[in-house]
Amino acid sequence: MFDNIRADLHRKREWFLKEKSWYVRHVRIFLEPGTFAVIVYRYGSWVNSLRIPVLKQLLYFFYMLAKIVVVLGFGIYVPSKARIGKGFTIHNFSGIFICEADIGENCIVFQGVTVGHLRGQPKPPKLGNNVFLGAGSKVLGSVNLGNNVAVGANSVVVSDVPDNCTVMGVPARVISRETNWITEKLEGRSVEY
């Protein structure tokens, strides 16, 4: 649990905070609703993996309390049964719904994002590593997104997307096949957010 949370916080500090002062890095980051939601999600998935019966129910009660704050207060719904890799970042809040999907490492989610089911397609979406979901984008149905995919703002993805693509529009079309800025940023070759 703590390894995952540390990785998430590290990702958020690196990407979204321009000021590097002590106050911003250690106090303001916890005041952001997205950070709180990620921590609650990690706690919930840790509680789910526990094997000790009574302790598990007790800790699950605290998880439910925190989840009520996150869902009612901030409008972020991330179930504890979703399988999300390290470096999961929620930027901003409200209108975020993520179903029990398989999501790889370093996923970045903005406000108004839905990752969910579509009628007649029972399997949830499957997202690769380094996926960027812009503000208001929807990923629906049993689709597979590859690695290094950037989904533009307000776009609706209802079909599969190969690796290294940028998609945009309703329904989403591929507009670039050379998207690798997330990997470049991760390896420290590009300083541009």
Binding site: L31, P33, G73, F74, G75, N92, F93, S94, G95, Q111, G112, A135, G136, G152, A153, N154, S155, M168, G169, V170, W181, E192, Y193
Partner: protein, 178 residues
């Protein structure tokens, strides 16, 4: 501060009356709270005297956090917004711009902000109406008298007197009123 808040609330009442809602009932909607907190934030930022400014900023930050939580509206005090600013409905509203003119209206689900690799935030003119769910992103400039239709995505400059529609956006001239 109080004069601007009064102008905002007057504009809000007029907009509600024009939409056929009860004008005084619109005062208790959550958009009004967010606008008042935003105006207070601008006031706290402008205070030069640190003994007053620091407590004001502290109060503003707590208020801002709880307004975010209660309403889902996040209008940061960095953005300079002209008088008669109306927020219609709530949840999912993020407004962060360099400068916004007078008579600005936003609906639910609207994002105004920056995009990867673009340094500057949007600059928006007077009498701009952003319909539900539209996104205005990047270092663009929007002129006066513009309507941006629902769920459109604007990434380029928009001239004055136009309607913007679609994802990605198409710019159409505003139909004349006579």
């Amino acid at each position: 501060m109080f004069r601007t808040i009064r102008a905002d609330l007057d504009a809000r009442r007029r907009a509600a009356a024009a939409a056929g809602e009860s004008p005084w009932g619109s005062m208790w909607q959550r958009g009004a709270i967010a606008v008042i907190v935003y105006r207070f934030g601008r006031f706290a930022r402008a205070l030069k005297f640190p003994l007053l400014g620091l407590p004001a900023k502290l109060i503003y930050y707590v208020l801002f956090y709880f307004t975010q939580m209660l309403t889902g509206i996040s209008i940061q005090a960095y953005a300079k917004i002209g008088p008669r600013f109306v927020v219609r409905n709530h949840t999912g509203i993020f407004v962060l711009a360099e400068q916004i003119g007078a008579d600005f209206t936003v609906c639910e689900g609207v994002t105004v902000g920056n995009i990867r690799g673009k340094g500057r935030l949007p600059i928006i003119g007077d009498r701009v109406y952003l319909e539900p769910g539209c996104k205005v992103l990047g270092n663009l400039t929007i002129g006066d008298d513009v309507v941006i239709r629902a769920n459109s995505l604007v990434l380029n400059d928009v001239p004055s007197r136009s309607i913007v529609i679609g994802n990605p956006a198409r710019v159409l001239p505003m139909p004349s009123e006579d």
